[in-house]
């Protein structure tokens, strides 16, 4: 049994979902649910179970892809291994004046 710590919906997703708590500095392996391809990344932050880890760098304002789809825009630059949540990702809906 693989000791994966995150899962991805699609191999091209920009983020994986932690399925166990991940510690800052930890080297972790993840698997994409459809293809079974393995990915490795070093975490920059503590990332609790259920939260997202960045697998690709994203510039401020660019979209973040999960499920192979656009799930919002980065509100600051995101580096590989970063925790991705409300502090750096925002919905593309109702962005009045932003």
């Amino acid at each position: 049994m693989s000791s994966h710590k995150f899962l991805m919906h699609e191999a091209e997703d920009y983020v994986g979902v932690a399925v166990q708590d991940i510690k800052a500095g930890e080297e972790v392996m993840g698997v994409d649910l459809h293809g079974g391809k393995e990915f490795r990344v070093k975490s920059n932050h503590d990332i609790p179970l259920g939260h997202k880890i960045a697998l690709k760098p994203v510039k401020k304002g660019e979209v973040v892809i999960k499920y192979g789809e656009n799930v919002g825009n980065a509100t600051q630059d995101i580096a590989v291994g970063d925790w991705v949540h409300t502090h750096n990702l925002k919905t593309g809906r109702w962005n009045y004046g932003n």
């Binding site: 994966h4 979902v17 799930v71 949540h85 109702w94």
Partner: protein
């Protein structure tokens, strides 16, 4: 796989898996009498709620549809309706009567609570003895209308719980069953993808129109769903945006095409997969699905929603290992093995189907054992 269940065949041929005698108040004022009847007569179930006075238009229609639908549900053997005004109690009883099940109505005006309680209690006693004389019959899973909803979702819902629900729904449809899911607001961000699941371009367009109307309603209030969607629980569970939540939500859609778009409380007319235009609030959503005749609900939770329904048993599943560990009394089916890749989606669906069959043969769900009876009417706007 076991597909035989034990249910109650109602007068109109529909199969229920519970055998309630319900006491329905037309309005808030009649709750006291309904609760008194429930207290007097063992085996009755009162459905108190806070509404029903001076509503108008579509909001009033939905009120009637929900109460009539509750009485019509195949999990209900017989119905007593009590209202402050006899005419409206009669309107609800008339809406139930064509199912062929026993139904009686009482108006409180001109009698007072005490005489009404006595008359209604005598009728309720007769109905309980009728209901408890009914024998269970063997039936098939395909005879059931099964509804689906997720709540207190987190990222595990999109990874495991909702895709498992999608597989379960596909299996039920393949057996010839009827399944309903919904939650219009929570498709936001993924509505263009869900639209492709509908069986015809016309249905896709109808769905997108219903969704757009909902968005217009929110904007007409000068509001947005930021701060509401995702919920605080969703965010704690790792969901960041409404789009992310929506893509997880629509994993429930499975692979079988959606053959109909239902209004709240609208009964499906033939087997297959349906989308119902509902709120995303758990108890409201399940209540309108129950009122459309759904007799068993499959609920997917991440962070641990605890909802139940008085008439429709709610089977709950979670893939979040923390929720399964800390709230086990609420989780009928633990599918955390999907996250550790020890369970495939098909194996997780097997576990859910096993629980569905047991529930449909009479076993109480966690929500039933814990007395969760959330009967929540959807309001469209304030009373006059």
């Amino acid at each position: 796989m076991e597909t035989k269940i034990l249910g109650y065949r109602r007068e109109n041929g529909r199969i229920g898996i519970r055998n309630h005698v319900v006491i329905i108040p037309v309005d808030d004022l009649s709750n006291a009498a309904c609760l008194a009847v429930e207290h007097n007569v063992a085996g009755t179930l009162a459905l108190p709620h806070p509404y029903g006075r001076i509503q108008f238009g579509a909001d009033l229609e939905l009120h009637f549809k929900t109460l009539i639908g509750a009485g019509r549900n195949p999990n209900v053997a017989a119905v007593v309706v009590i209202g402050i005004e006899q005419n409206w109690a009669k309107r609800i009883a008339d809406g139930i009567a064509d199912t062929g099940k026993p139904v009686a109505y009482f108006g409180i005006e001109g009698y007072g609570d005490l005489k009404t309680i006595e008359r209604a209690s005598r009728k309720a006693q007769e109905y309980v003895q009728f209901a408890t004389s009914l024998e269970k019959v063997e039936a098939e899973l395909k005879d059931l209308v099964v509804s689906f909803k997720c709540g207190e979702s987190d990222t595990t819902s999109g990874l495991a719980g909702n895709p498992t629900a999608g597989v379960v729904g596909d299996r039920l449809v393949k057996l010839g069953g009827t399944v309903i899911f919904g939650e219009t607001p929570e498709t936001t961000g993924a509505e263009h993808v869900l639209a492709k699941h509908f069986a015809t371009p016309e249905l896709s367009q109808q769905f997108l129109k219903v969704h757009a109307e909902y968005m217009k309603l929110i904007e007409s209030k000068g509001a947005d769903l930021l701060g509401t969607q995702p919920t605080q629980g969703n965010i704690a569970g790792g969901l960041t945006t409404i789009e992310e939540k929506a893509f997880g939500n629509i994993e429930k859609a499975g692979k079988t095409p959606i053959i109909g778009l239902l209004a709240p409380c609208e009964e499906p007319t033939k087997p297959g997969r349906y989308f119902m235009d509902t709120s995303s609030a758990a108890a409201e959503c399940i209540t309108v699905m129950m009122a459309a005749g759904a007799v068993l609900h499959i609920f997917i939770t991440g962070q641990g929603n605890i909802v139940g329904n008085p008439i429709e048993p709610v089977v709950k599943m979670s893939a979040n290992p923390n929720t399964c560990a800390y709230m086990p009394e609420h989780i009928d089916v633990d599918i955390k093995g999907v996250l550790s890749r020890e369970l495939t989606l098909d194996q997780a669906a097997d576990k859910v189907m096993d629980c569905v069959v047991k529930t449909a043969r009479g076993r109480y769900t966690d929500a039933e054992t814990l007395n969760h009876k959330e009967f929540v009417l959807t309001r469209l706007y304030p009373s006059a």
